[in-house]
Symmetry: D2
């Protein structure tokens, strides 16, 4: 095995470039994974633009699919050469936050560096790849707390099929899970990018029977139909709140899922709800949000607002792969492009400008 | 029995006055209750000031404690002369909204008048007394859907002891229930008016072990201690968010309860939370709310925001009276003043100006 | 309108016969429904055989699909001539039991007759049609507590399509809901009669990804495949527990659904579970059950056993019809035979002897 | 530090004796704890009698309170000399079972030895101390998966105060948590040994308002009153089921907790329930259980039966210690005797024969 590898690193705002880096050593609870496929996420574009700050020289990317190259001495039940993936979020499940039910908010590994309080809760700190530690857009990645995070890939599933598990599918499905869906519910999903499409698919899998997908792009609305939407609404052509009220006989939707991160979609997601409904928010917002008084019934409407960071862990990944292996869903439709790692700068350019109908790009080291 | 009764009615902004009204007839599913004790709520002050609009001539008040004077022909299992109370919120539990788990949002009785869609959900419409129909600050009140709303008062509990059940106690406890409290939790309760005090008491009953009561009034903080707070913070003397972080070793509170209805308390209630924490909101807000981006972790903090309207119904009332009968709590401390119905204008004046350390006033027809 | 109607009544063990009865008067909270389609349930066979005692002369049947003939004076929001159905279980949702979350166990209507305690809980007493009051195998049926129980049938759904909603579909789906299914779960459904088949379909709708249907009849296992099973096991040809362990890599199933009511299926339903799994029981047992010590981990396995009676109410029915209207499921396959009410004795004979591949029979007055 | 230590080991049925053993080496994810206080559990008596088999030479005991002597190289956030305890159940929270919500059933450490399937679920296998690995009745104990299991003891709490946390308090409280208690509930707790007493206390902390403690020993019933019971019933003097029905006006209890492990208490725990009620079972049964048909409403009563193994983990322990530190409860009353480790054979003799009013014995190495 070579001692050096190629990796896409953040250089400066506007610049993510390929670089040579040493292949890291493997601690007792870690695993080195040789990446066979990874992808670029919307968050990476925020990093590229300097809107989300990371350390200069950090390898970016957080969606690892690959093969175990080397296991830490204390990791049990895996073998080198095994095909695995890991969640974008890699908590230590032995932490307080994980034992308390919020593993994605585990920052226990930051305690010694003083970046986190003694009980180890830190918002979004479960996200380490390409944020706190070197990420996956590279030939190799070091998976921390590997015992809890390495998820074997079942035979018969290709890299492309499982590529959405680490982040997009886990996030979108969590949006559906957070919507408190009951059999026969009406659910409105705002924005049909990759995460919104997975939320639409998740709502279908959980028993909603009127799934209303909203976007301004008819192509995406078409994919939404394929993945589970019963009705699609192009917000450029109708008043979404009015349409939902018509479709529900004035009752309102049981829940809504916000998958974009803007004031406008958040507000609409509240307005379409029945009193007592649930707003499940997935978007990454970029400024303070306003809750309109009327739609909020002045605080007396029995509304729920639930937010989430993508869940990780090997059990989560196992379940998501079950969904794919059982052919409940085919997310291959989301992988619209393939690039070699060597061409990742071009891939970033395509993705950042959303050219050519791109949804997700498979990156192959 | 006389055919006329005295009642406090809304005349115009600034004017609630005693008037003579006919004692109403009783429909098959209704009951006429002779009020023995009722009270004035903060909401009534909003009505008095014209900030919350009601019909001119409407009898105000929504907290009935009394005796069944006459039962509707279809109501079973009660008898005339029986001591009862009813919740401030009087849903029809046969409605869609109630069967769907949100009885307080039942507006089914408004369908025929066109004020509510065909499935009968309407925000806050479960609140009828002194809002949609004549209320309780009168000699008699007509209880709608009596089969679901009349709650017998156990022997041994006085009117004053149960006077908080219809609204304040039910609301405050719901705030605690909505906070997802687990054994050993830290809960911060913002504002220690009557509802906040009941939320503090409720958090104690549900197993929180560090209950932090916040207010600017030391007298109220003293009562909070009696009702269950472990720690009290006067926001005039400290930075509440900083103090909570110190008290929790940097972890943050598991949940917070907002019991006032202002931007400032809502915002603090979010800031004291651990990632993954729950904000249970009880306040009646008077303008759009702003969610600060940082405290909200840009939408990625696994936060929950739950709102509620006071739960009603005879089973809810039965449970609240169980709490009192079992001596888990004595809310008598909240009833600071007594007035005859004939003096209700003076009572409103005292309560509206929060003079004389008033918390709640018992009104006796 | 005539004053007399035909009805199938229980005469004596072994004899259910057609009789003439007066069409009943309608009380303020009731509705008279003209039956257009009903069916025979396994429970009716127990009644026929005298194994489940009912009053002589009682009209049997509990699955009403029809048209409103006459509404009680206090019932709102419906109109005569409207197509409706009602659940097999007809609770008064204003009761304590319903407000406490268990409407199917509401016996409040029995309080005055002394058959039920003062709080109105009585096991299975929510089941009134063909049990406590005249049932649906007749030209007309009187629906009690009509405001909570009449469910309008959407245009576009035929009687045959919705015929399973009142009992079989509601029960089977409740079995799936009680199984605590999470995305990616393995669920084993024991017995693929009409209820078990609906449980299989329900498990699919709720996100299970390995649904294992068990029966001894290959024809029924074939239907299970159509309705959602991923794997079918004929217990005559294999050891079901061993097979489930193989299919799950030794983990065991996340949950199991018992849909027959025998010691053998109950026991297997426990043995297939992972530690921490849930057994959702739907069967009507006929003798004491034994819990095997080993499969129960001596009480230390974090197991859950949940039982259920069919949920009723108009909101439940609305949701079930949503599932059908959204074409998530077609239960028409379960209706294998049609008979006129006049031929109901022959229909009972066919159904009791399970001849001719019968699953369910549509009865048409 | 010496290389040898004293430990109480299982020699043969009827014989647990002190022996010399090497102090174990510490792996990267382990910690060596010097025991300052431990105790004897009912389970240890089953081991002593040979009723529960363990390996000859195994150190018994599973309730560690002590001081960190040596930390594994990969364990973070603790320091040697720190006072800690660990749960009786020591899962690896990175396992599938733990991530799936049932850490107590984690047997992942057994996969390599072939005692557990590849997904690592094995009933009760989370219990390692004094069962699978050397236990706590010794001068030192090796804590596995220390990162998830070491719980620092707050200043101000003595060893005796926290001695019930690892097992008895965690188990009893879990019994209360599994009972689905809502504010105002009636809960019946069968058997008032140490675990039942903690279940009684837990029911109180969670908001039950009529807590009925059942036992045949008036002394224990007296302690139950101190710890939270509202009513006590000595089954030698009354028919418990009848009494509960009287106390609840015929409604039945909302839930019951079985804390002994016999057919008789299990059966009574079912019979006292309202339809729709929950039976939370804690007992360790020694033979197949029978569910009486009538009390089970033939499977149609909407009953829940929940079982549990004691929850472990540092977050659980932290919460239990919060309860004690907040003075919600004083379990010191349960520690009736103290013995030196050198006298442990005598302590076993006292405890096995339940002499001298013994509840729990503090063992001091």
């Amino acid at each position: 095995m070579a001692s050096m590898m190629r990796a896409a690193v953040f250089v400066a705002p506007g610049r993510i470039e390929l670089a040579e880096k040493p292949i890291p050593d493997v601690g007792p609870n870690e695993a080195l994974v040789r990446i066979t496929t990874t992808t670029i996420c919307g968050t990476d574009i925020h990093i590229l633009k300097g809107e989300y700050p990371v350390a200069k020289g950090l390898t970016v990317g957080h969606e690892p699919v690959g093969v175990i190259e080397k296991l830490g001495s204390a990791v049990r039940g895996y073998h080198e050469g095994q095909r695995v993936l890991a969640g974008a979020i890699c908590p230590n499940f032995n932490s307080y936050a994980a034992q308390d039910g919020v593993p994605s908010q585990d920052g226990s590994y930051l305690i010694e560096s003083g970046k986190c309080g003694c009980h180890g809760y830190k918002a979004t700190a479960g996200w380490r790849f390409g944020n706190m530690i070197d990420g996956t857009q590279a030939e190799y990645v070091l998976v921390p707390d590997a015992q809890g995070n390495l998820a074997p890939i079942p035979d018969g599933l290709t890299d492309e099929q499982v590529l959405m598990c680490p982040d997009i599918m886990s996030t979108g499905f969590k949006g559906a899970e957070n919507a408190n869906i009951k059999l026969g519910d009406t659910v409105v999903v705002f924005a049909q990018g990759p995460i919104g499409l997975c939320a639409t698919a998740g709502a279908r899998l959980l028993g909603a029977t009127t799934i209303i997908a909203v976007d301004g792009n008819d192509h995406r609305l078409g994919i939404a139909k394929v993945l589970g939407a019963d009705v699609t609404l192009n917000f450029r052509n109708c008043d979404v709140v009015d349409e939902v009220m018509k479709l529900t006989g004035g009752r309102g939707a049981d829940s809504s899922i916000e998958a974009l991160g803007t004031q406008s979609t958040f507000e609409s997601a509240l307005k379409v709800l029945k009193p007592g409904g649930t707003l499940s928010s997935l978007g990454v917002y970029s400024s303070d949000l306003s809750i309109p008084l009327g739609a909020f019934a002045a605080g007396l409407g029995d509304y729920r607002i639930n937010t989430a960071l993508c869940p990780g862990g090997k059990e989560r990944m196992r379940r998501l792969m079950n969904v794919l292996a059982a052919e409940r869903l085919d997310l291959g439709v989301l992988v619209t492009h393939k690039y070699a790692l060597d061409d990742i700068v071009a891939a970033y350019d395509l993705f950042a400008h959303q050219r050519d109908g791109v949804l997700k790009i498979a990156i192959k080291p």
